[in-house]
Symmetry: D2
Subunit: 334 residues, 4 copies
């Protein structure tokens, strides 16, 4: 039986961008995040409701893509237990200093090669006077700037073999598989896993190029669906590229808007209403090809780029492309 409740939640994610200043502008003026510091090529940003110091670490880099994804353990013992299991799995890298404000971090990779950090010690965020919230049960003042997203919600990785990564998350880290897509030939094309009562925290989607270690998107939660409609209005005004949405996913029923930040990474604004997964014996919902062919919840067909755009971009000569025959549901993965 998998170990449950050893990972508390998805924590700050390192994003790479070839246009750091423009990306910082996007995260602060469009999404409404706050810069909390910088060091070398890195700029640290946070949403107003994350209790730790950092939600996103933006790093100047020749390409777009995702760097280290951090997870917080539920306690020091849970951290030790997970590190032992990760080492046993052969994916461990070793202990490193955490980002500023974070304690020792155990670095590892998922089977696809995405880098992760696992830690427990964390300084809670202390806002400066001008960002102090009016209500003491809130981390930081509500910014009322741009989309003003509440918190980092989830990360969606592209991967060569979602099933292997799904099993790693479940068996080594203790995630629950809440939903997945299974093709007619049995292949798992995508899997949604959760460490919390949210219905998903990490997702693996098959990379049609066969590449490893890429990012599909990171997502931020808003309080309402209306917040996302307004975020679409703001994207239009600010010249932020809208890829698709707003609409409602059939899978997980998430209300979504997908945009690209200037560095090229896809960013989702998402809202689940009050939907939670509270059942300890949740039954994985498996979607078939036929079911996925129906499109999104209200009938929107999935946009083509949703299946072709990942970061960093890959030169297709170097990639192992999945043929159409191998990817029959290309038109409607989510």
């Amino acid at each position: 039986m998998p170990p449950m409740h050893e990972i508390a939640h998805l924590a700050h994610v390192e994003l790479r961008t070839p246009v750091l200043d423009q990306s910082v502008e996007f995260f602060t003026q469009y999404l409404g995040l706050t810069v909390t510091g910088s060091a070398g090529d890195a700029v640290y940003l946070r949403t107003w409701d994350d209790y730790e110091n950092v939600s996103i670490k933006l790093v100047a880099h020749p390409t777009s893509g995702v760097g280290r994804t951090n997870l917080r353990a539920t306690g020091p013992d849970a951290l030790d237990r997970r590190v032992k299991e990760i080492e046993a799995s052969g994916h461990g890298v070793g202990w490193q200093d955490g980002d500023p404000g974070y304690g020792p971090t155990y670095v590892f990779t998922d089977p696809d090669g995405h880098e992760f950090g696992l830690y427990y010690e964390s300084e809670w965020y202390t806002p400066p006077a001008e960002l102090r919230p009016s209500l003491k049960n809130q981390a930081q003042a509500y910014p009322a700037r741009g989309a003003s997203v509440r918190r980092l919600d989830h990360i969606n990785f592209l991967g060569a073999e979602p099933v292997v990564n799904r099993d790693f998350m479940r068996d080594v880290l203790g995630a629950m598989v809440s939903e997945q897509i299974q093709l007619d030939d049995g292949t798992i094309a995508a899997a949604w896993t959760t460490f919390t009562n949210k219905s998903y925290d990490t997702v693996y989607t098959r990379d049609w190029t066969g590449s490893r270690g890429r990012l599909h998107h990171i997502a931020f939660a808003t309080d309402t669906r209306e917040d996302i409609l307004r975020a679409a209005d703001i994207a239009l005004e600010q010249g932020v590229f809208i890829e698709t949405g707003p609409h409602k996913h059939a899978i997980q029923q998430t209300f979504f808007l997908y945009v690209y930040e200037p560095g090229g990474n896809r960013v989702e604004l998402c809202n689940a209403g009050s939907r939670l997964v509270l059942a300890p014996d949740w039954r994985t919902v498996t979607w078939t090809e036929a079911e996925r062919a129906k499109g999104q919840a209200w009938g929107l067909q999935t946009i083509e780029s949703f299946h072709t755009h990942g970061t960093p971009p890959v030169a297709l000569d170097d990639a192992e492309p999945v043929t159409v025959e191998q990817d029959p549901i290309e038109g409607s993965v989510w």
Copy 2:
């Protein structure tokens, strides 16, 4: 250290009503619940997103008030461990058959005398054809009738000594104390505790009458704050008594509407937006008298009946009233 993650969530609650038919009408036509069955004096009802069979068990009774509050354990081992601890605490009653669709239930009381049931085995709800949802990751079709609340959210008990019950929830059941009110003399006037990533599942509020075992309210979650505004419109049209709201609590930041069902029990419709408590080392937020004197988040003063109305009603001659001196924040507990 308290045991964490042994209780999965608050489950169905038994409510007593002297006017069963009218109460059923309220729960189905105003809140939008569905009747799933009845047995003797009991009618079973469910919200559209609860995955188990029952959200509320309405029971004909000479008075209003709360009967058994059920909790689901996270697994059979967790159930066994908690039963042992409850027995050790001296509050155990014993094993009983569960409600229809539920397995063996261990009955106990909190120190205040409210009855609880703890179980693990549970049949998942299977909707009849006419209530089958269009999306397979949903328990039941959305009713589009009345307020159409999503799920049971929390229960707020009145109790003679909140601190004792708070400690029982924390030390015996493994709840986390997310927020509380502490008077200047050190008394805990109210405490919010959670088993999940929701910021509270059960609450204890000091009963000004000094009575034991009473109910302050049960609450149902909606997806948006707008749903609650509309629920207020509908209450007005249907003649449902609105006690206070809609407004936003400072404590927990819950957007709320309080109404009375015809039997006299207070029912809250609540929305937390996307606020969750994800920190494994959450620091209990303690509100002082001075802070509470500011009223609700946006300044609404708490309505008097919020401090005097509990169910069942008590004859004050039989109660041990708290004097004004003992209850200096009577005007603004939430």
Copy 3:
């Protein structure tokens, strides 16, 4: 100069359906209208905020499509003046009895052949006891059933030559042309006209089949965009066909959802937020082909059926089809 403020508003519309019972079910259970009476093959229905007796007159008919569209004059003198102008235009038919609850109605057609009725005398709706609203400034109790749309909002006609109908509405009836689409060759492909501070009441869109007298859609207003998102959830649950949306039109900025009622007629649920046209010298906004090629406000491409589905259906052999060369913006009219 055109006569202004002689038409008060768009009033009840007669819709034809080959499946009357199913259409009544759709209007009452999905949209939330109330049946107020029936006579022969006609069923009268109303939204909760229309102050007159009827919003929609559903009529059993071999095909779908639109019958008489009614307009209320601002007064008896305005009615007389408009009738004279209509007669002078050669489109008059003559005086007839109005529908039950309505006074003498002058029947005429637009240049495309759609039938209209113009009247002034109207009994205000008096709700029966069970539908009496709690607030006396409201026509009828809020139904809290299905989408619960507030009022009839606008009608969109298909027509062979939108420009001719636009000019008729403007010059004979006194409408203001708020927005329009002009193709590169100068053709007006669609025109939005208003009698009120709403930004449009009647619309003419070019019928690609070259047919006359057909309907593109009728629309009902909701209070919020969230109401429309919820209406999409309900459509999914009730098996109502969603053609496209929810999304936001670039033209008029209307937030929309398009569904088909069982008879085949397209119905829009729409919301304009608090957008009004208050300028007495409003400057018609003219959209070019290049601008329309950008799709809807947030980038949604217009669904193909939006350009091919009108009611009643036409046998293309009998129609005068517009060639692709003549209709270069077929992919993105709205």
Copy 4:
């Protein structure tokens, strides 16, 4: 019969403030208006959806209060006709230059002494490049800053005798009286009048001090009720004083939030959903004392300051106070 449709809409209002800089900060950072210019002691500001240049003219002044309230005529002839009627009424002052961007303005007062300006000529607003909207049917880019209110909505004047001012608006300017409060002794305590399809543009409320020429509040419209809830969150964060709300008025059913700007003037954020007054023969809704005693739509009791706070403040020695006997509904006027 009163002249209808000669006034197009309420236009820009001059507000006086003893703390000009702080008031500008409130209007730009909290409400989200844009400064378009300044001249001497005046700063001109606009909302993003007003099509003219100015929504509010803030003027440095020893006290708070309202200066000139502008109305736009529907055309040059309507302007001439209204000026003749105003002169005939004895309330005319004479022609003056308008504010920058506005043509000749006829200045007059209402019977209570509030100053008005009536004009027709108006330059439409042309945004600079950085404020250009993405959609050409919008006046200015959506600011996404603070509450981002859409447009000036209405003005509520305090007056010694509402009925006299009501009749002036109706008989001289052509307003329609949509709702009013009539005390048991026949006195009109408040009257709501409209020039448009909005259910009110100007309101007169009895000044309990007996003073003349004071302001109760000015109001700005948002697109949704949720926008107003969020505006309350932002007020809390920014230290803006919330007087009452959010809640729903029974009269006019307006969803409201009342705050004070730093100069002391009361400002309302309001939303009517899609409620419009379309009936040309609208029947004035008259509320009785008994009906008003029920409080607001969902039961909120009116806050005391709602009846005592007006601008500029008056020294009560100089005022003619209304006695309690004369003002039996003091606790619940709206």
